[in-house]
Assembly symmetry: C3
């Protein structure tokens, strides 16, 4: 699959400078690109790499339009343009319609003839599989699950009964959708299980990373809105709602019944406690625990800065005495105040 630079610009827009006939068959980094490849610059600090690149063409922002003589496309958003070029040059493999003989499809499941059910996948009774959807090897689709069109489930995704999956979902291997939420009640020294009778409902254009888990609701549903992007190994508890176009990095945990706004960005290994509300367009740093609702857009953090272990130990020991330090500081200020008064009195006497 190869395109001339002019063909790329024609399909994807942007301003073409230089030789439009150069043939492009792959995308690469400035550092590693070779002839026939296109690269991109999204940060002006990599100008040196641009000067030395082996790429046949580059994608640049407007500010860098003149930073090279190479054939180039100028775009307002060169990173998004790079994404589009890469998608053009690396289309998803086409799926082959049909049910593999080693798949197990229960009676009463409805599978669109354009869908592909791979070997060892199991489809429960009453499940509905939409057009052009791929159910990978070893996936387990529970009873009455409804899956939209153009969905791609990589091998070994599990979706429990009754969940609803919108169009274009991509779910990577090991994802579990609809497992029971962690609902228990203590009664006379034993935990009682609270049946989890809600569902997971997922909107359109969602992607879910490997080994991420999303629990079904206790009574109402757990909801993932349109365009949400989840990285690997995220845990989403029962009755969480994640607003449209929010992106969450790996290893984040979100506790039960928390609602997260739209267009939020949550850093890796962050955590959010239960029953909170997070506003739209909130940015949360990696490794930060959010323990209260956030009502305002903005950037929030709680990271303990690292140091050489000896320095860390010397400083961290005082964290157990901060309150005492604060009191001693206050005492000193009061004493200082008295001394200054006395001193002034002495001076004026």
């Amino acid at each position: 699959m190869a395109y001339t630079l002019a063909q790329i610009a024609q399909q994807l827009g942007g301003c073409l400078f230089g030789d439009g006939e150069v043939l492009i068959d792959q995308i690469s980094t400035l550092e590693r690109a070779t002839a026939g490849q296109i690269s991109f610059l999204t940060n002006s600090k990599y100008h040196a790499q641009l000067a030395n690149t082996g790429a046949s063409a580059v994608i640049l922002g407007e500010a860098d339009a003149d930073a090279t003589d190479l054939p180039r496309i100028i775009s307002e958003n060169p990173y998004a343009y790079f994404a589009r070029v890469s998608a053009l040059l690396n289309p998803s493999t086409e799926i082959k319609p049909g049910v593999h003989p080693a798949a197990v499809v229960s009676e009463g499941a409805q599978i669109d003839p354009s869908a592909c059910i791979c070997a060892t996948a199991v489809i429960g009774a009453g499940a509905v599989i939409g057009a052009h959807t791929l159910i990978g090897e070893g996936c387990s689709i529970g009873e009455n699950v409804v899956i939209g069109c153009h969905v791609r489930l990589y091998p070994r995704v599990v979706i429990y009964h009754d969940c609803v999956i919108g169009d274009n979902l991509i779910a990577h291997s090991g994802v579990v959708i609809g497992s029971d939420g962690f609902g228990i009640a203590m009664d006379e020294g034993r935990w009682l299980k609270i049946p989890q009778i809600g569902r997971v409902v997922i909107g359109r254009d969602v992607e879910i990373g490997a080994n991420t888990t999303i629990d079904r609701g206790a009574l109402d549903d757990t909801v993932i809105e349109d365009g949400v992007k989840l990285d690997n190994q995220i845990q989403i508890a029962h009755n969480v709602r994640i607003g449209a176009h929010t992106a969450i990095a790996g290893c984040v945990g979100i506790a039960g019944s928390t609602t997260i706004g739209k267009y939020c960005q949550i850093g890796g290994s962050a955590g959010i406690l239960g029953h909170l509300k997070i506003a739209d367009r909130v940015v949360i740093s990696s490794f930060t625990l959010i323990g209260k609702s956030i009502r305002e857009a903005g950037s929030y953090a709680a990271i303990y800065p690292f140091a050489k272990t000896d320095d860390w130990r010397k400083n961290a020991v005082h964290l157990r005495h901060l309150d005492e330090m604060a009191k001693r500081l206050k005492t000193l200020e009061q004493e200082m105040c008295l001394l200054k008064q006395e001193s002034q009195k002495g001076n004026t006497e």
Copy 2:
């Protein structure tokens, strides 16, 4: 499945007030309940929702017995009562005894005739599967594993050879039980693997959340006692022992050879280092690392409080200088002491 309120009270206890003939077929939140549903109040701050609920009946604690005129059941522990009502109205689906033709059962495995082995499950030689136990699709049960009665393994659970599973276990999809512990010894610049020859032994009435992992012991066993409840994506290392009725929230990591007491509660994303002892009835906050043994029941925490990123940055920078701050504070106190002495001397002269 529907019951009158009187039938519910008869089966589950509690004091019935109002019309016992009202028919109940589902449980719901105060906010969303509709006719035919029962709801519950466990926190007096939701009285406003109680006033506006569409529920046909409610479950209340003794203090709230008169907070509504709706038909109601009064219970000492309304949250546990809610759990029981929900279980009554939402019984687990019955399992269909038998081995699916697409399951793979090794010779010499013993499967109770009342058990259900689903499609694509694989049962190893010498494994024993108890009565009324469900082995979900794609599960892998290793050689000589012994599984009790009324166990439910959701799809894609793996249990390695020789592990022992008590009655009533519920394990959600992606759980791995009995994988090798992380045992390595450095020898002349290379890591040697230490064979992990212990097992995992799990008591009765345990529940394990999706994608949680429990490693087998290095020499002795890893042990999960009766009634332990584990949420999703927890990592339990080799030779850990978790005491009965302890509940652990999602994403917690517990390092090797640590012993946790009974009736502990551990918050999400917390961690416990290896070779520690945690007493009974210890409560550990989310996001807290426990680096020393805890000998006393009580509540423990270590959370860095979050703030707007700019404020966090302004404050956090001083963490690298706390020791210096403490020293400067001490110096000031000494100087203050001298000045006060001088000042007093001056005053008395």
Copy 3:
């Protein structure tokens, strides 16, 4: 399988003291060892256990050579010696060559006749499986994956297309290798997916714990060098490179494009941000976030010390006011300086 102590010393080296004819068939801890078992002492603080052990023989370091009269082997590195003895007494189960009839092998896959493909495993077109390699139940091996010799994949490992796996890999259940990295670009209010066209390339002698995930590269490859040991539930993002013989404990997250040196050790639940460089022989504590590159070998930490919740709360509140405290301290120092000058002036007048 049993050996005399003399046979063990002959095969594995070390200095034999006492009766070499004692027969050994298993290894155990000092505390639990019984007749016929060998134990080991790696820490002199366990001398009391040595005195009371039921073991028939022990492995000791040179400093402890005379700490018992039991038959014993003295080694420079008794922990590594223990690993070797355990491997001798507990050899891996032999694999049975052949493809199980319930496995699904695509046309064009090359499987060495000495390899074992278990039931319900699926092997993609163009995949190559090396000699003496075991592909466990339910594994999914993507198209054109190349797997070396003596590899052992436990049940339910997924390897996406085109990845390359070196000899002797051990991958535990639930491992996902080659899933898409978290590459997205915001464009007019929607996230665009960036195709992930790199691979995962894994060297020799690597071990990967249960439910660990390793994403494929965005453009270049994600690389795990020889001898790397990864515990359970680790997340390794796209384009990470992990240097040879580095060991990483459970639940660690490593963000995209970070390079980690050789012989590093990373504690449980630690995190490393993206685009960083970590030098060789860096040791990172559990629960520590590394937010900048580390250029020097050594030990680094960032752990908030835990306390009783009431004490923690009392102290932690001041973290939001550290900057103010630092300023107040500085003000006091200046005032003190002035007062001392005045006081001295007073004294000298």
